[in-house]
């Protein structure tokens, strides 16, 4: 084990000169998830060339889109029935095969449910310590991330020869979707089917509203809404802004809204232009998910609610009167 580490350290000084990053793209076989664009920006910040891996059962649209992204040198395409559901057990051997062939110094993915699920498995197979949800790249081996629900900022240096990293999208601007001319080639072939795990189905919330992590305006509700039906007040307000609707953990736990609306330490991290917190007390764990918003508005009948300590504009009022009034006046 000790011999391994020495070998790794020697190899790492060798590889310092030839930086090469692999970005594992996130897509649904039709469209590229915008988070991949933010991840590509982080990859570019590391320096060195950027290769993007597009794996799925049908990769055409996604790989074409990625090849046009500015700054992408190469696109590796892996189209295989084995990748149905994008399971970590099937994707990990694919990434390991690509790593074995191209010897990347950095492997990145967005810090989404997908990225967080797959990348640590890859890191363990490579015997390196992954770095979760970075918010900045200081150098090829030094990264910044938040700990304690965003109440402390950690800057760390990785000693591993390959850095496996997930990227918080809200901290990196998206790469331009045109101007790029990446070379498309086939990823290493192999039998990636895994009998260990099988994707069955997904139940996704259907909505015309913008996606939470990318929305410019978010109207968010908490326990104060008292029921799922009452969330209609927020949907009406959101319509005025073309906004997305989010929720605190309390609202999700109580069953008012589905889990994909949850914003917070263990839910989604958002940083919109405008965040309107309605009936949300402002617990540390919720703040972790939204305190990077440009402007925070809070509507709560409790003047002592912690949310008022971070809100730029606070309104102490009964939300059941204030929200309809606000919607009407816009």
């Amino acid at each position: 084990m000790f011999a391994n580490n020495t070998r790794n350290l020697v190899r790492s000084s060798f590889l310092q000169r030839c930086k090469s990053t692999l970005v594992v793209a996130e897509h649904n076989n039709e469209t590229l998830n915008p988070l991949t664009l933010n991840t590509i920006t982080a990859a570019k910040k590391i320096g060195g060339d950027v290769t993007v891996l597009v794996a799925g059962t049908k990769c055409g649209p996604a790989s074409e889109a990625v090849a046009k992204v500015e700054g992408v040198t190469k696109v590796l395409v892996a189209e295989n029935a084995a990748f149905k559901g994008f399971t970590p057990e099937s994707l990990t051997p694919l990434v390991l095969a690509a790593q074995s062939q191209f010897k990347f110094t950095h492997i990145l993915a967005g810090a989404s449910a997908f990225g967080k699920n797959v990348l640590p498995r890859i890191a363990a197979k490579l015997d390196v310590s992954p770095i979760s949800e970075i918010i900045d790249v200081k150098s090829e081996d030094t990264f910044v991330r938040t700990i304690y629900a965003g109440n402390a900022i950690l800057t760390l240096k990785s000693k591993d020869p390959v850095k496996v990293i997930t990227v918080r999208g809200t901290n990196f601007p998206p790469a331009a979707t045109s101007g790029g001319n990446g070379a498309v080639e086939q990823a290493p072939a192999g039998d990636y089917a895994s009998s260990l795990s099988e994707f069955v189905s997904q139940e996704l919330t259907k909505s015309d509203r913008p996606e939470l992590t990318g929305a410019k305006v978010i109207i968010s509700g908490g326990r104060g809404l008292k029921s799922g039906d009452n969330f209609k007040l927020l949907y009406d307000l959101a319509d005025k802004f073309g906004a997305a609707v989010g929720a605190s953990r309390a609202a999700v736990d109580a069953g008012y809204v589905p889990n994909d609306l949850q914003i917070g330490q263990t839910g989604k991290i958002v940083a919109p232009e405008l965040y309107v917190a309605v009936g949300i007390s402002g617990a540390i764990q919720h703040l972790a998910g939204m305190k990077d918003s440009k402007t925070i508005v809070a509507i709560n009948k409790d003047p002592e609610a912690p949310i008022f300590q971070v809100a730029d504009i606070g309104l102490v009022a009964d939300l059941f009167k204030a929200v309809p009034e606000l919607t009407g006046k816009l």
Partner: protein
Amino acid sequence: MISLLFNSVATPFWKWQRCGKYNLWTPNHPLSFLTISAVARKKMARVLVGVKRVIDYAVKVRVKPEKNGVVTQGVKHSMNPFDEIAVEEAVKMKEKKLASEVIAVSVGPTQSQEVIRTALAMGADRGVHVEVPAAEYDLLQPIHVSKILAKLALDEKADLVILGKQAIDDDANQTAQMTAAVLDWPQGTFCNKVEKTDAGLTIAREIDGGLETIKTKLPAVLSADLRLNTPRYATLPNIMKAKKKPLKKVTPKDLGVDTTPRIEIISVEDPPVRQAGAVVADVDALVAKLKAGGHI
């Protein structure tokens, strides 16, 4: 026989292979089938649960003036909330007769035993404390913990490892995935619901867009998400009983795991401070401010 035993010692545990026909872990040696004791295919699972002692979720965390960590001395600690959910799930499995035994493991300095005792009070049968001195613990990462848990899972012949999705101190969300990789077991992360079937497990997971259903074989590693269950409070009689339950102490060295640090902490700093803004009197004032800010 001696050469077979020697081989099993010389081969690191993560190079052990599944011996196909018997679906068991053995060192990769042609005559290794001779070393297998007859382990019957049990219907009930033995569950290993990882529990971490963290600063309590309600505490206002303070960065140390030396900017190399946060203040932990004299600060309230408790079991990581996600780990409580993991323990609860394991204990529920035992109550449903799906699990035969629940083993609670914690990796850390002496105080980690507190959370093992809590797990025992919630219904775990025995505990394992992997002792890591405080200085070493500061740089311990999921990569080290996952190897420790993997080795214990094999030693204890666990069929299922359940961990919390993430620890609320490092917010890493890595250990379950890495433990599964070391063991070459399937991973069921961010579990919202877990059902044991004849074929293995059917799992509903929380993903960005909603819920996802997957099926995995057993053995497997799971990570518990918030809504998997509501953990029970340890009652006083159970807390007293927990004091008598066995708690084994080992070190990473005993398990053959190298804890050499993989990272160097450059700094730990306060986040940018957000100042409170103004409180407005009514909705009209709010609309005015939103207009002024260019939001409408």
